[in-house]
Amino acid sequence: MLSLTNCISKKSSLLWKPLTSGRLFSSLASYKYALRHSTFNDPTISLRRHPKAINFYKSQVRSFSSTLTTFHGHLNPPKPGEELHITFVLKDGEQKTFEVSEGDSLLDIAQAHNLDMEGACGGSCACSTCHVIVDPDYIDALPEPEDDENDMLDLAYGLTETSRLGCQVKMSKEVEGLRVALPAMTRNVSNNDFSNN
């Protein structure tokens, strides 16, 4: 099992890239900060891409559902044998894994499953409300963000080294088992905030 420290040291070698490389925001401190503020620092969670690990997720994740009846929105159910898997780490730490098809965008997947991802501009890369933090293990397997995605990421709240826009990231075999966290955008106020315990 890869531990958090492994993740950091694995990534830290490619942290600083020159100005022209496209990935500009880099320092070990900011990366550690990013990790601290993402939900990946749960040491009990494995970050594997291996099929066994997916089964592990299936058994771990409270609300995993292997039936596809909950699909709505514009998603097509995956063809048998071609299912890909994605896990969302929600703002409260709960994880949800879904079977999806190649080409589905993370925004479409999240919205089809009523996850808290706004997509204010309807997926046209013009608002940054679909911000996700990608598990560092998968970030290099994703195609680099285009300029317009980076322009919007500039404005994303709680930006991290592995932040992406959910409307621009599409599922593919290369990222089978992908894990992304929804950043805690809003402070959750509840009655508890006002009571003494």
């Binding site: 501009c121 509840s190 009655n191």
Partner: protein, 505 residues
């Protein structure tokens, strides 16, 4: 009007006897609508939301601020529409109504809302202009604030037919100055510079009255003048990129070496967005063939344009406007400025012995919109300071700094005119979460009315959501007929007249 006792009788019989907590939201821009959305989608207790809007049309700056060539930004309106449609049926846990063409604080006292509702949210945005307060700003022809100019080209009913714009002689406008370098300044620069590029505007919902005027202007140069230095530029990269990309039409940008040289910047200290801004400017200032990344070579620049067609824009820095010069007809001729120094701690020091003049025919002050208190605030003891409603995380404070129970604020009137729609949304969500926590805890006031739409029965037409939908369909249809996304109805009387005719489509 229905007597009080009958009204309360009828509300308990309707609504399938659900007694809901009542919430009024003042202003239907992104902050008002996102607050409504969050309340309706998260509340576990039954609520009734009434969304009040001064204009006969909803959506605030999504409709009247966001540039016409950025239709994708307006997609948030789809979310707003879907919640209005979903919750106004009055047959579920919650209920929603939209009441347009009513200005709270004028047509209906805010005091009445506070008295008759469990919660009131002030989300009425920024309805004024920040000012330079320099001689000539108020009374010189050809000096406009960004809010006036944007409202005019976006067809806002208070400006769309304004004589100040239609009687202005656009045919002599060559040199333009814009003060401030926020995104609004860049929107305005783009509109002015590309005034004759039909393919950018013909399909948009830009006001045809404004476009006709703008088409006449032989614009040569737009100077975007900031008081601080390059690294404190306020625009964001998407907007800046759009300006650079206008080179494909023969519209070229520049920045004096005095203000921008990559070698002089301490790159490692810059924020991620500013690093990207610096890279973008460095690359676009190079000749096309010498650029390193393909993204800066997306469009071939139109180099062989005739002198008359070639236009330029310039990012200018470290200047404080001091006075506006004009001719005997009262038309602007020049702007006088001081050059500035900037201190380590980001303070601007104008150098009074470094005076310069820029000749110009049009000046737009794009300093930000200004929030205004309602007249009633004094009487109600509501604190308004530093350009916004005093509040603690959206809970409004009185003049002693104490929180006024049941009164909240969200969006631009809460914190001044900053933040893109995503930021406005997050702010609205936070405020709504606070309201829900309070509502679950606090008992209902005895003076609360389940349905307060009767407050709007006092004068001319109020506009319901279905009235708006019918106007919306009309605008969309007119748009389709004219080959555009939408053709906005430009005046309030026409909007209201349409409500009566309700033609069948």
């Amino acid at each position: 009007m229905m007597p009080n006792f009958l009204r309360s009788l009828s509300t308990t019989c309707n609504n399938r006897d659900i007694q809901r907590k009542t919430i009024s939201i003042v202003g239907s821009g992104p902050s008002g609508f996102y607050t409504a959305y969050r309340l309706l989608s998260k509340s576990k207790i039954p609520i009734k939301v009434t969304l009040w809007e001064k204009l006969p049309v909803p959506f605030g700056l999504s409709r009247y601020g966001v540039a016409p060539d950025h239709p994708e930004v307006k997609n948030c309106e789809e979310t707003f529409t879907s919640i209005a449609n979903e919750y106004q049926k009055d047959n579920g846990l919650h209920d929603f109504q939209f009441i347009g063409n009513r200005t709270i604080g004028k047509d209906i006292p805010l005091k009445d809302l506070i008295e008759k509702q469990d919660a009131v949210i002030l989300s009425y945005g920024c309805m004024g202009d920040k000012k330079l307060n320099i001689p000539g700003e108020k009374d010189t022809n050809g000096v406009f604030s960004s809010r006036q100019f944007v409202n005019w080209y976006n067809g806002h009913p208070e400006y769309s037919t304004s004589k100040v714009f239609s009687n202005f002689d656009w045919s002599r406008i060559k040199n333009v100055g814009i003060i401030g370098n926020g995104n609004v300044a860049l929107d305005i620069a783009r509109v002015l510079l590309s005034n004759n590029i039909g393919e950018l505007w013909d399909k948009t919902d830009i006001s045809p009255l404004a476009m006709k005027c703008l088409n006449q202007a032989p614009i040569k140069n737009v100077k975007i003048i900031a008081r601080r230095d390059f690294v404190h530029s306020k625009f964001t990269n998407k907007e800046l990129r759009e300006l650079w990309e206008l080179e494909r039409y023969g519209i070229f940008g520049s920045i004096s070496k005095k203000y921008f040289q990559l070698g002089n910047l301490n790159i490692s200290n810059l924020s991620r967005p500013m690093k990207r801004t610096a890279e973008m400017c460095y690359e676009y200032l190079k000749p096309f063939n010498e650029r390193t990344k393909k993204s800066y070579k997306k469009y071939q620049p139109l180099v062989n344009v005739g002198e008359t067609q070639r236009k330029t824009w310039e990012l200018d820095y470290l200047k404080t406007p001091t006075s506006i010069k004009r001719d005997s007809n009262g038309n602007i001729t020049a702007l006088e400025l001081f050059e500035n120094n900037i201190t380590e701690d980001n303070r601007v020091i104008p150098m009074k012995d470094h005076v310069i003049n820029y000749d110009m025919d049009l000046l737009i002050t794009s300093l930000g919109y200004e929030a205004k208190p309602m007249d009633e605030f004094k009487e109600l003891g509501i604190q308004f300071e530093h350009g916004h409603i005093a509040n603690v995380e959206g809970r409004v404070q009185n003049q002693e700094g104490i929180i006024v129970p049941g009164l909240y604020t969200a969006g631009w009137v809460k914190h001044g005119s900053k933040g893109v729609i995503a930021a406005t949304m997050m702010d609205a969500f936070n405020v709504a979460d606070g309201i829900l926590a309070d509502l679950e805890t606090f008992p209902s006031k005895p003076s609360v009315e389940q349905d307060i739409s009767f407050l709007a029965d006092n004068k001319v037409e109020k506009v319901s959501w279905s009235d708006w939908e019918s106007l919306n369909n009309y605008e969309l249809l007119q748009g389709t007929n004219q080959g555009k996304v939408r053709a906005k109805v430009l005046t309030v009387p026409e909007m209201l007249a349409h409500k009566h005719q309700k033609p069948s489509y």
